[in-house]
Amino acid sequence: MAEMEVERTIERLFARAPESADADLFAERVQRRLDRGWAARRVLIGAAGLVGGVIGASQLIMSNLFSRAEAASSESARVLTSGVRQLAPQAEWLLNGPAGIEAIWLVAGLAVVAMGLVLTRIIEEI
């Protein structure tokens, strides 16, 4: 056989691999591994988003940022409060409650956490 012919024959023989009897089983095993990896990744991303959101919100709450901001600009806080009152008179009970403005910030913090979760879900889907 000529050199080129030998090479082509060997390539053909390599390409002519017999079909394994357990080809379906092998494919299922690979798919199970992919599914496991996917589930683990989802849990990991979700957990990371939750932890990040909680840490971020707690940092905001613990850093006294709100009271400092309040002290720095009580006037703007008053404007904000009246603005909120105009926009949502129903929320008056919340502003006048024992927690007052802190409750609004807490809700905002929770909203940030929720947004973090939504964002991680969107990233995951992409």
Binding site: E3, F14, V30, Q31
Partner: protein, 192 residues
């Protein structure tokens, strides 16, 4: 997976399945594994892996292929692409695992001591056993996985000239062992 879904996937071309897999469709990728799993496992066995090692490596190769499926643009065959991934993974394992390397060398010595019967017709798997480890790996990488000599040299961490001479020697041995089949093939073609 429903029968209808399986039927739908089995009617699609590899490139279409790869594109679905790139968008996260694991069922589509499963169909690709079904189509090409046997060939990848056979290649790894021909490179000297045991059946169990070949299965493990082939699984790893398919997982790696899924992770980087976006890189597959359909310019070549999917089977060839995944075979290259598997062959490179195999080379990494051979270079990392000293025991495995020693075992492969031991098999080579054993097989090399066995004389080849020039009149006996052999299949490729049998003929490959008569090659040295390096020859078998080089021939499998170049003719089974479709790597160029340069790529094989990089995968094996060997000089290019060494790879070329291993391929040459391996081909000569295979030619001698497979000659009856080659002649028979030519004879069939001549008679047909």
């Amino acid at each position: 997976m429903s029968r209808a879904e399986r039927h739908r996937l089995s009617s699609l071309h590899d490139v279409e399945l790869a594109s679905l897999a790139a968008s996260g469709d694991r069922q589509a990728f499963g169909e690709l594994v079904r189509r090409h799993g046997s060939a990848v496992r056979a290649l790894l066995r021909r490179m000297g892996m045991s059946a169990a090692e070949a299965d493990d490596l082939a699984q790893d190769a398919f997982i790696a292929a899924f992770e980087s499926i976006a890189e597959f643009r359909g310019e070549g065959a999917f089977g060839g692409w995944v075979k290259k991934i598997a062959a490179r993974a195999c080379m990494r394992r051979v270079q990392k695992d000293k025991q495995l390397r020693a075992r492969l060398e031991a098999v080579d010595l054993q097989e090399a001591a066995e004389p080849a019967d020039p009149g006996r017709r052999m299949d490729l798997d049998e003929a490959l056993k008569g090659l040295g480890e390096a020859e078998r790996l080089c021939v499998s990488l170049c003719y089974g996985a479709g790597l160029s000599h340069v790529e094989a040299a990089e995968a094996l961490n060997l000089p290019l000239g060494t790879v070329k001479s291993h391929v040459k020697r391996g081909l000569d041995k295979l030619k001698a062992r497979l000659a009856p089949e080659g002649e028979a093939m030519e004879g069939r073609r001549g008679n047909g």
